[in-house]
């Protein structure tokens, strides 16, 4: 069972305080999108064995959504950060690259 730092309230929150929200950094396909774009937005999700970005909500705490960068294989957490950003911050990317030099963001 995971335990994550909530970047908003700083609590070390175990999974039972959190709600999982699937893959992070999905860009919403709006009313002008094509069927293909909309399908991808709504249904296509990564399921990597390795580095993954996901959304979590500190539901039984401060109530804020945040993002976590995690290795799905080792469970290493590279960091948690604000959900209000279109891409992971540099220090998270650096931490991942330090561990997996060949990794790159998108």
């Amino acid at each position: 069972m995971l335990i994550l730092y909530c970047p908003y309230c700083g609590a070390l929150a175990e999974e039972t305080e959190l709600v999982y929200g699937g893959e992070a950094h999905i860009v919403r396909a709006g009313s002008e999108s094509t069927d293909t774009e909309f399908e991808a937005y709504l249904f296509h999700r990564k399921n990597p064995k390795g580095v993954h970005f996901e959304r979590w909500r500190h539901a039984l705490g401060c109530g804020k959504w945040f993002h976590a960068a995690r290795c799905t294989l080792t469970m290493e957490v590279f960091g948690t950060y604000s959900a209000q950003t279109p891409r992971p911050p540099q220090y998270i990317c650096d931490a991942i690259k330090f561990k997996y030099p060949s990794w790159s963001w998108k």
């Binding site: 069972m1 396909a29 709006g30 009313s31 959504w65 469970m75 290493e76 209000q84």
Partner: protein
């Protein structure tokens, strides 16, 4: 025969005699005994029968690895099956019964299976019970069910209670042996929070049995050192040490479950029986020791064949000699200790059979000096005896040479040691095969990883495969320092070097003896005692193509018993490797999964049982309902009155009475559980336009609008009335079940997509009670209470007003879910009950009655109003429900808009909402499916719709239903067929879903 020995028995107190019973016979034991040691002291070696063949089985081990001595404990509602006698602490009045036999342990009909053994090899049931097919349901399955299962399930509700405990620590040390204590002490000296847990009842582990008097320093024996450790650790404020605590599983991010047995040994203590500790540790040190392996030879399952280390345990810890004439058979040095200790206390050792070639070591020399006969290069050909060992036939280690018969009543065997790496493996630690030591050991180069990406766990002592005391203590000190620094460099100073013990002769890995035993011997050589897996079963499995140890495990049931292969795994996989001509390292182990040893279901449930099983949410008016005959209906976690039963009334009668009275007079309904979300901010209107399918930003303050919410996938998820409070504030009502979800849904969009919008959402569901006053006399009633003007001009339909009723501040919404003239009164929860009672009191002259959720549902169905969860199931769109009018065509975007533009959403064949009326006026069954009428075979008919709500309408005195029917909107007047249970069919006419007052004259007065 077994007996107690004087002058020995560290754990027992001979001055305290305890009475207990086994299979109805009364026995005596001592305080400190386990059930197993007390049974052995009373010469009860034969205590169980095996699972498949019902063979007599005796006590083999002295700890949680015991595969045979499983008993049923206690009586009545306290009865619990499959408890290990070896870990059950004796108490006065304990009652135990043996298992898996009929009628008695001594005389068992099921033992006939043993004679049929050659017809019951591994996988026989897969091959046997497949033909003829029809036999399975009526013959095979009932018979197998009767035979299957170990022990009897308790039938009564468990009267005990259980609890959790959340605990955090820097360093968790699992195992209170000398290595664990040493590491804990070292870690604690750095100031870290240290938590040491031991599954047994005492500290020191094996070293107190094996090396108690060994001089670790010039002045201190092992026992002295352990005493010192415990004393020091107990005195440190940053350390907690506890016994009777078994780490059952290790999970991600240092999450460890620990099972505490609080009162198993003291049933009259009161309080919880078990406590499940949910521990978070930054670093975990496994000092879990090692478990001795049995040797595999013919008749090794006969009662009296035991692990050599256990024979030592029973002697040194409980003062029990496990036999009168004991024979030791071994492939390593450790079993010599058994012989030496037994001899020391005057027990007759017939001889040591050492499978290895002649050699010498300190232990061998000590045995010789004690005049113990040692036979090198020999093996047991087979054990003789049925319910107890009578003797053994010896041969040389390969099986040749003449047979020699030696009489004995106990065989103490040792096949080497297996580090207890279960917990290490649970959390991702890897193992490697150490050829020299002939054991799977934790691979320190591939440890479990924690949340930080750094090493989470360490193995020390015997759990690390280190069988030398001095080396283990040295390593424990290093690891203790390292762990307290969270993976960093531990301090290397002040390491204490203890005296090294003399070296041993290496183990001879041998997986079955004699090494070239023929089929007949191998077919009597047991690998898994509880599940009756023999050497030949593993060979069969290999021959039939089960090359992976995971497959072999499932095919043969090797290691699938309650001991989870603690004794059998390594022997089994080595034998498989042998059969496959592969190296052991290539075969590998099966996956270790929690729990390490079985834990009670009660401890897993914790406090969540009986009235704490789940929260029951209660409205502020709950007590009144309770006192007035409420028949409760769970709605989400809420308990709401379904109907209020009067004396002699059925629920059906009550519902009809409530409906008719509301339609004729006035009814009172507790709507407090409806969600109430207050949305405030300059962008509130803009935000709600995105959340709802309707346009909300155009709503005027003081007005209400019925709104729909869809998921991004286009399906209807919630509905409710939105009231605009002022320019920048809206109150959104949600369904009872939806309040928390819709609140979360709004927060999610606000926080993760439209965070630029200036909007705050606050959930005020519990701040307000809400009471519906419905019926033709509702306005008269309210106007009696105060001078609030609720007339149609001042408060038209779909508007709201603030005011006072009987001096209490309220907000009144004029909205209707019943089709009647109806007002919803919102009031602070603290005053909810008060206003309810006033309304009931004043309403008496208007024949007021309270009504429950069923009457509400009947009335809304009469009006054709939908209910989320009845008419919707996550695949229904607003359009399906003829709610197109509530979907804005002007808005460029709302959640679900893009999805609803997909072709399938516009398919004219979609099922849509209609009313249904049976031809004979009866009530359609709920959830029933409509089928194409031209097909005669219902099973092959196409389903064209289903009933979503169905009621008896007391207003119309007929059955009415709502349903979703293919092309429903175009089929008004058509009669369609529904398929019921037992081939019964129903005919119903498609009608308008609005059965009553289609023009809304009643609600608009």
């Amino acid at each position: 025969m077994n007996k107690r020995i004087d002058r020995v028995g560290r754990l027992i107190d001979k001055s305290k005699i305890l009475r207990f019973s086994f299979d109805g016979v009364s026995y005596a034991g001592y305080s400190g005994d386990t059930l197993a040691s007390a049974l052995l002291a009373n010469d009860q070696m034969f205590v169980a029968r095996s699972f498949k063949y019902h063979r007599p089985r005796g006590i083999v081990a002295a700890g949680p690895e015991e595969p045979n001595a499983l008993v049923g404990l206690a009586q009545g509602s306290y009865f619990e099956p499959n408890q290990r006698a070896t870990t059950t602490e004796l108490f006065d009045g304990l009652t135990a019964v043996s298992q898996n036999h009929w009628p008695t342990l001594n005389f068992d009909i099921g033992a006939i299976n043993s004679m049929l053994a050659s017809f019951l090899p591994s996988g026989f049931y897969y091959k046997m019970f497949i033909h003829p097919r029809s036999f399975w349901k009526y013959i095979y399955e009932p018979l197998l069910r009767k035979a299957a299962g170990l022990g009897k399930s308790p039938v009564d509700r468990d009267p005990d209670c259980y609890e959790y405990f959340y605990y955090h620590t820097d360093v968790l040390v699992v195992g209170g042996g000398i290595s664990g204590l040493q590491a804990a002490k070292r870690a604690a000296e750095s100031g870290a929070r240290v938590f040491v847990v031991e599954q047994g009842t005492y500290w020191g582990g094996r070293s107190l049995v094996d090396h108690a008097e060994f001089k670790l320093t010039d002045h201190l024996t092992t026992e002295d050192v352990i005493d010192q450790f415990v004393k020091q650790l107990s005195g440190m404020s940053n350390v907690v040490i506890r016994t009777r605590m078994m780490a059952s599983g290790v999970y991600d991010h240092g999450y460890v479950l620990i099972y505490e047995r609080i009162s198993d040994h003291h049933p009259t203590l009161g309080g919880p029986r078990h406590r499940l500790w949910r521990v978070r540790a930054r670093q975990v040190i496994f000092a879990t020791g090692a478990i001795e392996r049995p040797l595999v030879f013919a008749g090794n399952d006969i009662p009296g064949v035991m692990l050599a280390s256990s024979v030592r345990d029973y002697l040194m810890n409980y003062g029990v000699a496990c036999g009168n004439r004991i024979l030791v058979v071994t492939n390593n040095d450790s079993a010599y200790l058994t012989a030496i200790q037994l001899k020391k206390f005057g027990v007759d050792i017939t001889r040591i059979i050492d499978i290895r070639e002649p050699s010498t070591s300190a232990l061998i020399e000590t045995a010789k000096a004690n005049e113990i006969e040692i036979h090198f290069g020999k093996a047991i050909c087979q054990v003789k005896g049925k319910k107890r060992v009578r003797g053994v036939e010896l041969c040389d280690s390969t099986g040749r040479a003449d047979l020699e018969y030696v009489a004995c009543d106990t065989v103490a065997m040792s096949g080497g040691w297996t580090p207890t790496a279960h917990l290490w493996s649970h959390c991702g630690g890897k193992l490697f095969w150490d050829e020299q030591k002939a054991m799977f050991r934790p691979d320190n180069a591939r440890p479990p990883i924690g949340a930080s990406g750094k090493r989470l766990a360490f193995c020390i002592g015997a759990a690390n495969g280190e069988m030398s005391l001095s080396k283990a203590l040295l390593h424990a000190q290093e690891i203790g320092s390292l762990a307290s620094g969270e993976g960093g460099e531990g301090k290397k100073t002040n390491i204490i070097h203890y005296k090294e013990e003399e070296s041993e002769t290496p183990i001879l890995p041998i997986w079955k003896i004699p090494s070239n035993a023929g089929f007949n011997l191998q077919n009597k050589s047991w690998v898994d005692f509880q599940n009756d897996v023999k050497v030949t079963d593993i060979q069969l499995s290999a021959r039939e193509g089960y090359e992976s140890i995971e497959h072999t495990k499932r095919y043969t049931t090797l290691g699938m018993a309650t001991d989870q292969g603690k004794l059998s795994n390594v022997n089994g996989l080595a034998l498989l490797a042998d059969a496959l001509h592969e190296p052991i390292a290539n075969v590998g182990t099966t996956t270790f999964r929690p729990p390490y040893s079985p834990i009670s279901i009660g401890s897993i449930a914790g406090e969540a049982r009986a009235d704490l099983f789940q929260p029951i949410r209660q409205s502020p008016i709950y007590e009144w309902h309770s006192n007035h005959g409420a028949d409760w209906e769970p709605v989400g976690q809420w308990h709401r009155p379904y109907a209020y039963l009067r004396k002699g009334e059925t629920v059906f009668d009550a519902v009809n009475r409530e409906v008719i009275n509301t339609r004729q007079n006035v009814g009172l309904f507790d709507a407090s559980s409806l969600g109430k979300l207050m949305i405030k901010g300059p962008d509130a209107g803009k935000f709600l336009d995105k959340m709802y399918t309707n346009m909300m930003s155009t709503l005027k303050p003081g007005k209400c609008r019925y709104g729909l919410m869809c998921s991004e996938n286009g399906f209807l998820i919630d509905d409710g009335v939105v009231a605009r409070i002022n320019e920048d504030t809206f109150l959104c009502h949600t369904t009872t079940g939806g309040a928390d979800n819709i609140h979360a849904h709004m927060e999610e969009w606000l926080q993760t997509e439209w965070w630029d919008l200036k909007v705050y959402v606050t959930n005020l569901t519990e701040q307000f009670a809400q009471i519906t006053v419905a019926g033709p006399k509702s306005r008269m009633l309210l106007e009696k209470l105060d001078d609030i003007d609720l007339g149609g001009e001042k408060l038209p339909f779909m508007s709201w007003i603030d005011g006072f009723l009987n001096g209490l501040s309220v907000r009144v919404f004029r909205i209707s879910f019943s089709g009647e003239l109806s007002f919803e009164i919102s009031i602070n929860s603290a005053n909810g009950l008060r206003i309810w009672e006033i309304l009931m009191d004043v309403g008496r002259e208007f024949d007021i009655m309270s009504y429950g959720t069923e009457a509400l549902h009947v009335m809304r169905a009469e009006k054709g109003f939908i209910v989320i969860g009845d008419e919707t199931d996550g695949t229904v769109t607003p359009q399906d429900l003829n709610l197109d009018w509530a979907i804005s065509q002007k808005k460029t975007d709302f959640i679900g808009k893009r999805a609803q533009e997909r072709t399938h959403f516009k398919d004219p064949d979609r099922w849509s909402l209609v009313g249904l009326q049976t031809l004979d006026g009866s009530v359609l069954p709920d959830g029933i499916y409509a089928v194409e009428p031209q097909n005669t075979l219902i099973a092959e008919s196409e389903m064209i719709g289903r009933v979503t709500s169905t009621y008896y309408s007391p207003t119309l005195q007929i059955g009415i239903a709502l349903g979703l029917i293919k092309r429903g909107k175009d089929r008004l007047g058509e009669v369609i067929e529904f398929a019921g249970l037992n081939k019964r069919t129903y005919k119903a006419r498609i009608v308008s879903p609005v059965f009553f007052d289609p023009d809304g004259e009643k609600q608009n007065v």
